[in-house]
Symmetry: D2
Subunit: 349 residues, 4 copies
């Protein structure tokens, strides 16, 4: 299986990767004896303790099967059905989750804001909140803001930006959600603590991605704002997101953070992206579309080069206007990156 | 971990069990190289072929993380928002999924029907359909029937019953869903083919349980009626039920059915339940509430005996009126069963 | 128009009636000059004052176009999406609103309770609340109880019954909704104050019917529990239930209660029903199915008599088992009633 | 009542107007005898015939209480829950209905398109459809386009534009909805037939506004595409939008179109707007923001002038950046318009 040439040389996504060995071993280790079902087990209790340590505050962790579930159910818990969620206009929740947040929330509205490099600007959010027509019953009412860290463009909000959005959310009386599909990649880039990047900057609830960075099939919702815990627990159960054998999701997530595994894995893919971005930017005719701050690289290059890369068997995502997206992975190698750069040089030179 | 005495001796549920070794090994085996994401991989393709062989017709299989997701999304795809789903009044979908089907369908109505031993009777369904006020716009319109095989009482519909319900559904122009949370247990009991128990008897769509019987965290929706495939694929994705690393769900399900593993596991737990039921029924003062046809045993016994069992550290679920539910597992032992029976004898005698 | 013989002699429903002249005159009177839109007008302000007087407390009144809207939006505001609403198993909300409450609430569950004469018994509610599995995330959580006053069987809850349900709701921490589609008919029967029949007995929110008893097309939601006002105002607007020219709905409702019009109209139809019930019960072979306490009469009679009545051009609703439902109207006459009774006597005698 | 000075001199909206006398008389005329409920009456049958004549094809008409109900329920019937509706980014459905379409559809996505003068450009729609990622399960799938005729800016799509959008919708396999809140105003401007402006140009379903232009509280959904009729009838009923005494809604709508009343009323308000626009545009410092093609006038003027107008008691809506919106009404007068213009001249000159 899986011996198709194209797939073995790909910058298509981080979800094509296998599972980090440490995480698979943790599944084996968890597989003995009995354990209470639906999260009432000791692995789940340990998961809460481990994450509470990591985030330096008491958190509740709900493992879920996908990032879409994490985002949509977090946001559905933050908003009223007639509420609005502010996000970047190109946010994953707004463009690539099939209306999940609208559906789970009972029809809340996502309001896409413009912003350079895929990031919501605090001043844009503030302006949107000022013009939000609060109390006018035919307007969706401000209830939440969601940012993606790292963003869909592979850029990273610095702490001041997060804190400014957090302050705006607090002043505006709305909740602050962070889509951390690539949380570890951003954390490595900032070199700060997990608490600084989240609740200390005002984040109420976090979609904590793990699958893209080495887990098998378990992301998590990390709840900082205690009043969201109970309603979320019901919403998850009826969404079919509460595993009966929860210990195996908990075991993945425990192993993921234990001994800094998630940071090591993310650090590696970040370095590959950084190398990729630096070398590509040095090739005449190739242009970076956004700063490379995580494991994503967006570059513009001549259309014939793109087609030649495709023809050569390299896989990646295309955007309009001669732009391609390259994703590096925890299991990628410098050799692949260098090989790819050489190929681009040859095709363009 | 998990060394609490109570948990190590339990008839509380089948979800407290670990994962069958064959399935864990399959996860290991799947963990090399890259694989396309979101079900576009070769494991998923193989899963479809394996299940198409098993069911002797072309099926589409969608792995999901829980039985609630399987049931609610299957049914949401079968009905209009103003539709009705007929089911047993004590069906899991009606009592223990927190309104999941109502939510995912946009407000469809579950209509609970009475029926002995937890089973919908074909004549009751037929009568309900006759009085359904079709075309009357203030009545929820008949769109689907759902049965649980094996039922919530551990009883099993025989083929004639399933076929009669299937005929009723066809005549009534509604879809037929089977909640097969304990599909393997029922199949073993009937000794028929998977096709006979499903589409040959009129079933359109099946919630195929695997987690209770040895998988780690992967159930599946098996679609026989082709027109449900496309809408379901969208509903699953926006429900957050489409794993990015789908190969690991597919691998579990492939291993689950390969070489008849699922039947061997179910056969074992069925035999334990059978032994438990037979021996308990022979104890004066203990009475079986429903025939034992899968891995569930419902018995009535004097309240002091129930309390003494609990005090002794045995775990099980209670129902009203001195009735308890005992669940046997693929990893259970005859020794446990015999020990339990001896305990009951001692307590009651 | 409307000169079909069958329709001119009917006990089919109260919605076939015209509009009370006083209400039509009020529409004329309201039709001069300008008025602010969407309820910000002086008629709407007056409506709130009039109803606050009527109910002897400060209430907020939201006119809506139908009873279904009143019920479903009231209840959607009372419950969480994973909540449950207790009601009589034959309640209009459970059987004749096409799943409206399920839809507007985002999938809340209606739990039908048995009860003689179409009424929820306080002890049945209390038992249901005791067994509600609070805190268990796969169970719909108790959030509201709804009773119909007068009930779907034309019976009326006495104050002690309402207060007992109100006490049960308060003790159980759930909200209390009254479906008052025939509020005036019940009020006349009890001879108590509107406040006694509602908030003084624990009612949080009321669907106040007017259309069946003389209005043109305006029912109302009357909110006693202030915390429901704001969320309801948003839910109504997005449900398309906030008229732009609200003054005309307000004018209908003001006229409806002014000078006790609603009581006079209901009193008349109640008297007709009472006469109908008394006389029919005296005919051998005819049997009252429920006490006649409002403007509905349920009687069982021999099938040939029912068919003969239909053949004679009388219109009424049929229930199963030889039972028919007769509805009297504010514009009905004693002559019609006597004519009908004579006809039944002739057919049966 | 209603003698507040500000209100008697207002360009705030068309909903502050009273009811056209012809329509009120029709209500009186309809108020005798009995009529079958829920649209099964002869007025409703006549309404369908009248509108079928008007539109020169067999249509089904569903009266509803508001334009929001008309829009949201029409669109919910056109789309799948995972569908997308294309509309102008400033469309009423996207900005001023509190997420009604998202809610009634079960989470469909509104995709706002840019376009001059509040109008969707056919080429923009075509481009959006080309890039819609059909078949990609995490993208909301194209299901409908909605245009507002006359638009929120008071501009009118010419027949060629409508037909081009209709052709785009047909080619793209999506449905075409027209929000005709000011249908009559647009029709008068184009001077074409109602059929040309709708189904002959590809429109499947129409929100037919009447309340803004003289009705009391009845708009309508006019269905051209027969396959939408049945599902819509159920959706309306459970949305609480099916009046029991439907004859009174039907009577309003019949009177509204009879003898061209709706065209006369709209013609008058259009003329007032035209006069207003022409005269304002001639004042130095005042600038029209969009062509005046219906009964709305958008003008920019110096901030002090706007404040002075407000202080003088004139009521109107403000937009950002020194822009105000003036709405003329069927019951407005040339005197008011001239008085207003004189006031502006005085304030600015």
């Amino acid at each position: 299986m899986n011996d198709r040439p194209a797939v073995s040389f790909t910058f298509r996504g981080d979800n094509v990767a296998p599972v980090a060995p440490e995480i698979l071993r943790a599944l084996d280790a968890a597989n003995h004896g009995l354990a209470a079902a639906y999260g009432d087990d000791e692995y789940s209790a340990l998961l809460n303790r481990k994450f509470s340590d990591l985030f330096e505050t008491e958190v509740t962790v709900f493992p879920v099967s996908t990032g879409t579930a994490a985002n949509a159910l977090s946001l559905a818990t933050c908003v009223r059905p007639y509420g609005a969620v502010y996000c970047h206009e190109e946010a994953h929740i707004n463009t690539a989750e099939g209306g999940a947040t609208e559906a789970f929330s009972g029809g809340a509205k996502l309001i896409g804001l413009p912003g350079a490099n895929g990031k919501v600007e605090p001043s844009t959010l503030a302006a949107a909140l000022r013009h939000a027509d609060r109390g006018i019953t035919n307007r969706s009412q401000p209830d939440a803001v969601s940012i993606t860290q790292a963003s869909e463009y592979g850029t990273v909000y610095v702490l001041e930006e997060i804190a400014a959005i957090g302050a705006g959310a607090r002043d505006g009386g709305i909740r602050f959600h962070m889509d951390g599909a690539r949380f570890a990649n951003a954390l490595v880039t900032l070199g700060c603590s997990a608490s600084e990047m989240t609740w200390r900057s005002g984040v109420d609830i976090l979609s904590f991605g793990a699958t893209k960075n080495g887990a098998m099939g378990a992301d998590a919702i990390v709840v900082f704002n205690r009043e969201l815990v109970e309603p979320l627990s019901y919403r998850l159960r009826r969404a079919g997101q509460t595993w009966s054998k929860m210990r195996f999701a908990a075991a993945q997530l425990i192993a993921y953070v234990e001994n800094g595994l998630f940071l090591r894995l993310a650090s590696h893919s970040n370095q590959l992206a950084s190398r990729l971005g630096r070398e590509l930017a040095a090739i005449p005719g190739v242009r970076l579309i956004a700063p490379v701050e995580a494991n994503l690289v967006f570059v513009a290059m001549p259309e014939p080069a793109i087609e030649a890369l495709t023809a050569a068997g390299v896989r990646f995502a295309r955007r309009g206007g001669g732009v391609i997206r390259l994703v590096t992975r925890f299991d990628g190698t410098e050799g692949e990156v260098d090989q790819f750069i050489a190929l681009v040089r040859r095709l363009i030179g």
